[in-house]
């Protein structure tokens, strides 16, 4: 197998862990771990939402209707950093971010702005922890991009004010041929 100059240039340092012959593209779990994602999210929450706003690392089921905000990372690893929660929680987050400046009625545009900005801050810091050079998109809000390769996913589930929020670092590309599409246990 030959490695193109581009692949060579953009290859992250190879620790040899969890890699096999034929691998040419790292997956999220090889580049960042749950604890780092959780720490990045916690720091963003404390800074943007409030000093007392602790994220509790407890998995809980998301409500049937959810809203997501995300930024795309394009580089040696390409994918999205996605925040997902219930619409009421996204609105509560918006109120918390706006603080005393929050109007009595929060409209959809404000929720998209605030929730998107949290994804932007979390995503920017996740990007910095991934191998570069890479680019970061503007935040988007809506239905989350699909998980195309379950092996290329780091997901952290937390509770904020008792409500579930998930933070996913998920690859945009399908699994490579010959590589399992499901994570190893």
């Amino acid at each position: 197998m030959t490695i193109s100059p581009e692949q060579w240039l953009f290859s992250p340092p190879d620790t040899g862990e969890r890699r096999r012959a034929g691998d040419t593209r790292p997956v999220a779990g090889e580049l960042i771990d749950d604890a780092t994602v959780e720490a990045i999210a916690q720091e963003a929450w404390i800074s943007l939402v409030g000093e007392e706003e602790v994220l509790v690392p407890l998995p809980a089921e998301l409500p049937p209707v959810t809203v997501s905000s995300w930024v795309d990372v394009v580089g040696p690893w390409t994918g999205s950093v996605v925040l997902t929660t219930g619409p009421a929680t996204a609105e509560e987050l918006t109120r918390a971010l706006l603080g005393p400046a929050c109007p009595p009625v929060v409209d959809e545009e404000e929720v998209a702005d605030a929730f998107g900005e949290i994804a932007n801050v979390v995503g920017g810091n996740v990007k910095a922890a991934l191998p570069g050079p890479s680019g970061l998109s503007l935040p988007q809000v809506g239905e989350a991009p699909e998980v195309r390769n379950p092996a290329d996913l780091v997901r952290v589930d937390v509770l904020w004010r008792g409500e579930p929020v998930s933070i996913s670092v998920q690859g945009a590309l399908p699994a490579l041929p010959g590589r399992p599409a499901h994570p190893e246990n």
Binding site: L98, G123, N125
Partner: protein
Amino acid sequence: MKILVADDSRVMRQIVIRTLRQAGYDDHDIVEAEDGRDALDKVSAEAPDLVLSDWNMPNMTGIECLQALRAQGSAVPFGFVTSEGSPEMREKAANAGALFLIAKPFTEDTFKEHLDGVIA
């Protein structure tokens, strides 16, 4: 003293302005811009003493705005407040003439650390 705050997120502009006030810079005039293009126009129109700008914005990014300002001969003090604080971006910002880069998330102490000496 007049400070221009450029960010495409209205919520983030409010958070930056709130943090400025919490850091003790509460007696300055604040002008807001919603992207790099708007910031470029407002530097001419409003003559701010300092620009605090996001990096990643539609229409014109923060770095493009800074480069355009310097190309026009403007020496307005310029700092970034951005979610990306990699060494490469800090170097790019410094090479373009930025005084500092504050990475989001930030605190009022981060603001004090970078703005003391820039804001009288």
